[in-house]
Structures are given as C-alpha cells and as structure tokens.
Symmetry: C2
Subunit: 498 residues, 2 copies
Amino acid sequence: MELFKTFKEIQKKQKAYQLVLNIASWDSNTEAPKNAIPYRAEMLSIISGESFSLATSKAYQEAVYGLFKEKDQLNEQSRKEIERAKRGLDKIVKIPKDEYVEYAKLVNMSQRVWEDAKENDDFESFKPYLNKIIEAQKRMIRYRGHEENAYNVLLDDFEEGMSKELYDAFFDVIKTDLVPFVKEVLAKKPNEKPAFITDLYEEADQKRFVEYLMDVFNYDLDRGLLKKSVHPFTWNTHSQDVRFTVRYLKNFVFSSIFAAIHELGHALYEQQIDEDLDTTNLNTGTSMGIHESQSRFYENVIGRSYPFWEVHYDKMKTMFPKQLENVSLDDFYKGINWVEESFIRVEADELTYPLHILIRYEIERMIFEDNIDLETLPEVWNNKMKAYLNIEPQKASDGILQDVHWSAGMFGYFPTYALGSAYAAQIYYTIIEELDFEKLIKENNIAAINNWLKAKIHHFGALKKPRELLKEITNEDFNPNYYVRYLKEKYAAIYLKE
Amino acid sequence: MELFKTFKEIQKKQKAYQLVLNIASWDSNTEAPKNAIPYRAEMLSIISGESFSLATSKAYQEAVYGLFKEKDQLNEQSRKEIERAKRGLDKIVKIPKDEYVEYAKLVNMSQRVWEDAKENDDFESFKPYLNKIIEAQKRMIRYRGHEENAYNVLLDDFEEGMSKELYDAFFDVIKTDLVPFVKEVLAKKPNEKPAFITDLYEEADQKRFVEYLMDVFNYDLDRGLLKKSVHPFTWNTHSQDVRFTVRYLKNFVFSSIFAAIHELGHALYEQQIDEDLDTTNLNTGTSMGIHESQSRFYENVIGRSYPFWEVHYDKMKTMFPKQLENVSLDDFYKGINWVEESFIRVEADELTYPLHILIRYEIERMIFEDNIDLETLPEVWNNKMKAYLNIEPQKASDGILQDVHWSAGMFGYFPTYALGSAYAAQIYYTIIEELDFEKLIKENNIAAINNWLKAKIHHFGALKKPRELLKEITNEDFNPNYYVRYLKEKYAAIYLKE
C-alpha cells in the first residue's frame, strides 16, 4: 500500500504538469499572439523536462513495476491504473533521455520544414527530415525491444490490441467490397454540385448555428466552451473541462457544422466520463479508435442522417433564409452527403474517406516493412490515388504533403480514423436494436442517445480496453462488414435509386 | 561565475513555472468554464508548491546571498538581478513553509467569504477572516524580523522606497490642499448628469471603438490581444506577450473606453521593455506605483484631455451617431470628466479618486499601528466618507466591503494607486517641457509620446528603482504638489470658470 501511495503521489504531480502544459497548448492554439511562441517554447520544454524526469524517475518505476507484479491483489480500478501506467512507462523507459530530447527537437523542426514544403509543393526538402524521423522511430522501437514487427508496435501504440493482421483484414474488406461500390456511386452521381453548398454564410451566423447545435446535443457549458481555431479540435484536462473549436469558412458552411458535431462527439465522450476517475490516469477516452468512433457517430450517423434534419432543417432555413430559400429538405440531405473524388483527406466525404486512409496505411506498411526508397513515395501515392479514386494529384500539397502526421512522427495513427468509422457502424447496428434510434432523433431527444453511449462507453473512461468494450457492447469482435453495409445502405439509397 | 550560472539556471526554471501558472490564471480569468476551477485549483497548488520549493531551495539561497555579498564585482545588470532576487527571497525565506501554505489557503477562503459578504452586505461574516489575515500578516512581518513598523514593511513591499513618512507627506497635501478644492467643485458642478453618458451603446460597437483605440495607441497585436473579462486587467509574461481585457457595460460606454486606455498604458509599458531583459527577473515594470503612473498617464493625461478628443471625437460620432448626435465636443469633454460624489472607488472620477485612497490609507494605518477594533471599521469608513466626500454609504457593499484587496491580504497596496496618479502628474510637467505634447496629440502622433516614455521609463524594465527613475526623469524627488496643481488646473477650467 506504501507503493500505491507513492504511485498516486507521483501521478498526481504528473497530472499537475500535464494540466499546465495542456492549458498552455490550448492558449497557443487558440489565441496566443504570434511573437509569444519562441520564448514560450523554451519555457515549456523545461516543464516538459520536469514532467519527463518524474515519469521516468526511479521511484515511479519501482512503484509501477512493483505494483504490476502484484496487480492481482489490487481492486479492478487500481489494477487498470497500474496497467495503463505500465503501458505508458514501457514506451519511454528504455529510451535514453538524450535520444528523447533529440527526437523532440527533430519533430519540432520537421513540422516547420513540412509546413514550408507543403507551401512550396516541395517534397525534396521534406524528404531528409522524413527519413530521419523514420530512422528515429525504428531506433526507438529497437530500444523498446521490438526489432521485428516495427509497424505492429506503432499500430498497437495508437490502438491497443490492433495489429497488421487485423488491419489487413479490415482494409481487405474496404478494398474488395467498398472500392467497387464507391466507383459505382461516383459514376452515377450528378455532375453539378448544388450551389447552396458553397454559397456565402456569414461567420457570425455560422457561429450562432453551431451554438444551437451545442444545445441540441446537450453539451454542458458549465464544463466547456466553444472557440475558434485554425483547425478544429477537442481539448480536455478532466471531465469538468472539455472544450472544442471549429473554424468558419465563409463559402463552406458545412465545414463548421459538421466539424462542430464531430468535435461534440469527442467532447461528449470526455464530459460523460465518471468524475470519480478524474484523479486517475483513466479519466480519458480509452483509445484513438473508440474516440473517433464517437465523433464519427455523432457527425455522420446522427448529424448526416435524414431524421436529424427533419427536426433541424427549419431552424437552419430560418437562420439562412436567402441561401436555403429554394432548397428542399431532400436536396439539403443530398447536399450534406455529397460524394466526390477529392485529393484532401480532411475535406473528403463520408463514403470516400476510408480510401484516403487505405492509401496511407499501405504506404506506412511499405515504409516500415519493405524499406521503400523515399524517393518514390510521391509516385506511389499518386498511383494509389489513381487506383482507388481515379484522380491523380498534380502537386505534392494535394498529395503526399497534405497531412501533418508524418512530420510529427505519427505513424500508425491514420488507420484509427477509418477504424473509428467502422466501430461507429458496428455500434450503430447495435443501438438500433436497443433503442428506437430514429424516433429519438425525430423527437430531438439526443439526451437519450447520449445516455446510452454514456452507459455503454463513455462513463468507463479508460477502464476498459477498446476491443473489450466493443465486444461487450455489440456481442461481437470487431467486424468491418458492418461499416461497408452501413455505407452501402446509406449511399445506395441516395445515389443508386432508379 | 559558477554561482551566477546556478542562479540563472534556477531562475530560468522558476520563470518556466511562473509562465505556466500565469497562462493558467489568464485562462481562469477570461474563459475557463465554471466547473473547471476546483480540480484546477488543486493541481495548480502543486505547481505553486514546486515553484516555492525552488524559490527557497538551499542552492538558490546560496547563489543569491553569495552573489549579493560580491555584487560589486558584477556588471550593472547582473547586480540588479541579484538585488531584485534577494529582495524577493528576503520576503519569503524566513517564513515557515507550513505558515505559507496555511496563509495561501486562508487567503483563498477569505476571498470567497468576502464575495458572499459583499453580496449580502454582511461585514460580520467577513470580520473573523479579516482578523485572521491581519494577524497572519503581522506574524509574517515578525518572521521577517520587522516587529516594529509593520505597515512600513507592507508599503515598501508594494512600492520600494516608500514609507509612512513619505506617504503621510503625500496624503497631507491631498487632505489640506485637494479636499477643499474638490468640495468647491462639487458645490458648483451642474446638478444633472448629461444623458449621453448613460445612453445605450451596443457591446459590439464598443468593442470596435476599443480596437480603434488600440490602433491609435500603437499597441502591437503581434505581441498581445484584447479580450473580455469581469474586471479589466493587463496580463503579461514577457515583452512578447502582453494582453489586456476590458468589460462592456451597455449603459456606460466610458467604462470600456477609459479602462481600455488605462490598460493600454500598462500594456505599452510592458511591451516596450527591452527584449534583452526577458531572460532576467527585470523584465517587468519596476513597481506598482510606476506602473499605475503609466496607466493613469495614458488614461487621464492623454485620454481625458481636450486635444485627444479634438482628433478622435469625429470618429466616435461616426460610430455612435444616434447617441452623440446633439453632443458638442465641449459637452463631450465635460462628460468624460464628469465629477461627482460616489461610493465606489473603481467608478470614481479622476478628481475624487485620491480621496477614496486616502480613506483606505488612513484605515490601514489604524489597523497596523493602533490595533483598532475591527468591529468599528464600517463606522470609521462611513465617517471618513462623510468627512472627505460628504456622502455616507448605506450598505457595506458600498463601503468597506467594496474592494477585494484586504480579503486577498493586500495591505499597503491601495496607496500605490494614488501615488501612480501623482507620479503621472509630475511626469506630465516634465514631458510638456521636453515635447510639444499637445501638438503631438493633435497630430495623432501617440508614437512619439510612446517613444519618449520608452526611452525614459519603459525600456529599463526593473533595472531602475521607482524613486530613482522619477528623479532621473523629472530632476526632482517625488513632489505631490504637481498632482494637486494638475488637478486644479484641469478641473478649475472645467467647473470653476465664470
């Protein structure tokens, strides 16, 4: 028990460091003036250093590894805390501090280089940094004792329990079953994009509509707030402080609306975690994949559904009378589910989205398994775009340079985006068995859906592992067929009806 | 030199702690959701504890006191750094950590009790806390070895070099020279307050005008930002990040306008400090009094001057055509310098303001020198209001409970507010000798005035002590007669002209 006390004390301190670093990062990403950043970066690296020293301190190691050996004597929650702490410790403890510090600098620098490279469509300037990051990643995995199967280690880092084998099975279904369907839809969809999609919607009005949506989804403003930032994100430190941001594009109102609903999904997850867990390391969503399943569920399964807009379209028309004057509900529904070949993942529609992820997954495998020559990456990228989406980017910023992830060393992260959508579909086929889902949406009773998700997923925080959770909810292991079924049912009804 | 290296290393870490604590406090005071606060308070107390341990660590003490002994061998800047560090250390090093922690808790609790007491006009409920705070203050001063002259210690804490004797001389001038003048003005001023002062001005429009003023005063938005909060304040971590807030009262537009100019004064001071000082403990305004002199100078000497509105009143009329339609520049000038007896210090006009401070100064002296029975404080307060301003508050929230300071343990702070105004007047009579001040204002060349203040005051940060600075600028020691002269010249012209 002495050991557990030590563990809790050090963890509490770590949580304090994490809190202030998080608040600083929120500030940096939403409002800090430009010139504040360099000094701040230096100061924050000191605090990060303190936090790292604590997280790898001998006392903490002894506590975590000591308790792990006797974990069967702990109660369930304490055992989970120790398991999670050990998982975190295993990742960093064998890496020399120098290597860690160097890596942090490299990643910092690479992101800046990537920004410029993207701006200038210049993959060559980014390539050496990409190479260094990949080498560093491989080295760090070796330190951790996993020379073989490097990519598996990364996949498991971002989604515990996942592996190449499981993702291969998932993406095989996408490739063989979804890709042909997508091609069929793209061939049959109308040529002309409805004008109201890209009409002008004033920022202040968009914001008011987002605020309306916050209310619809029962987001608790005593424990959160909405703000503006360059890229939308959800931010949280504990269940009592869960914020999110959107951006407002004057000529693409759906960007703020669906980003808001997406982030609300992340935010509701975090707000609905048991407050009791706030003093533990379990007070957070259990994995990237499950988190994304919640954001996609709210955004797509609820937010892009017909029943949802049966309730809310009138409100939207009142707020945007000019833009939507001659747009029927049916047309609006088609508009929010508009499908098209596109280069940029973050702007892709629900149907083509997984193909963007498939491409990244295949390339990451090549990098970590086949030691592919980086020189050829842009070409590989373009060929895959051509194969799956039948379009070919003319510049690197529309292709391989579009995403920040690799410059930040995040390999193995992309697959969780598609996985989240697939989890969401699997959960959907369970929820419609257990609730009168469509009726609840039509009654504007999102609270009932929130409650179901709270009871089944949210309140647990990280007490349960992702695959364990999914199995308990759906009575089944992860099954990608639900995802394809969901997409086919929805998009066939919109685009392939005779 | 080894010792100096240690000093700089520990100081850098302390600055990192200070930065994250500051950012958290900015967040708490401007946007953090209500329920975020309790958990955050607990976490921040951990970080504060780390910072305190560092600030009182043996290594730091050895470095600071060691270097102080040999300070004559240091260059000027390093010597000033050590002197300032020693001054900070002296204040806390002899206080037992337990006492410090208890005091922090007491102050925290007292502020909450005060809030309720103010809300309920209930001095009795606050009295025991006030008593505990005063006792704790006296005890801490004893620990520091200053049993005698406790109030002097507090006065010097908030304004280095000031003492009862100096403040007595200052407030004597106020009492004998200004109080009768104020009474004369109050007797002769028109009875009816002009309606445009309390007309309705929409928040969004007020904000746009504040943004216009930011531009007029050359506030640098690459190193700052404007935000809204319950009480206006300026916030800074270093010269590259200096922000300020205002609040918008729909029926009192002057509140946001002059709070903005006031905070701009604080902010320009901080933005104009030499960037080279950012890595030192000298990267801040040198004292409360000098800081307040800058805010008051911008707010009153520039912002409430006739020439200023000769340039900007047209702009204001364009932005508020309905409210100012029939208001001449002369009437407007009288409106922004409207004088009246009022209960609340923060809403007081420029002329009666020092009398509010006089009252607090006299009461603080009674508390620390005469051990006055706290029971009698409200009565004492009311009698003084009657004597100096000829009005008597009917409730404690309009009287003794109006200000947060004492509940936060800040005794000796109030006098710096009046001192700042007096410094500003003394600086004013110098600046008009050296610059064509009125012409610069009429040419909307605030930049030239900023530059003068930068060269004479701002860029030094805390390199020079307040009284030293004042003497260098004005060729004279602090002389309160300038203040009274300034007020008399200005307000006689407005109110006592035949």
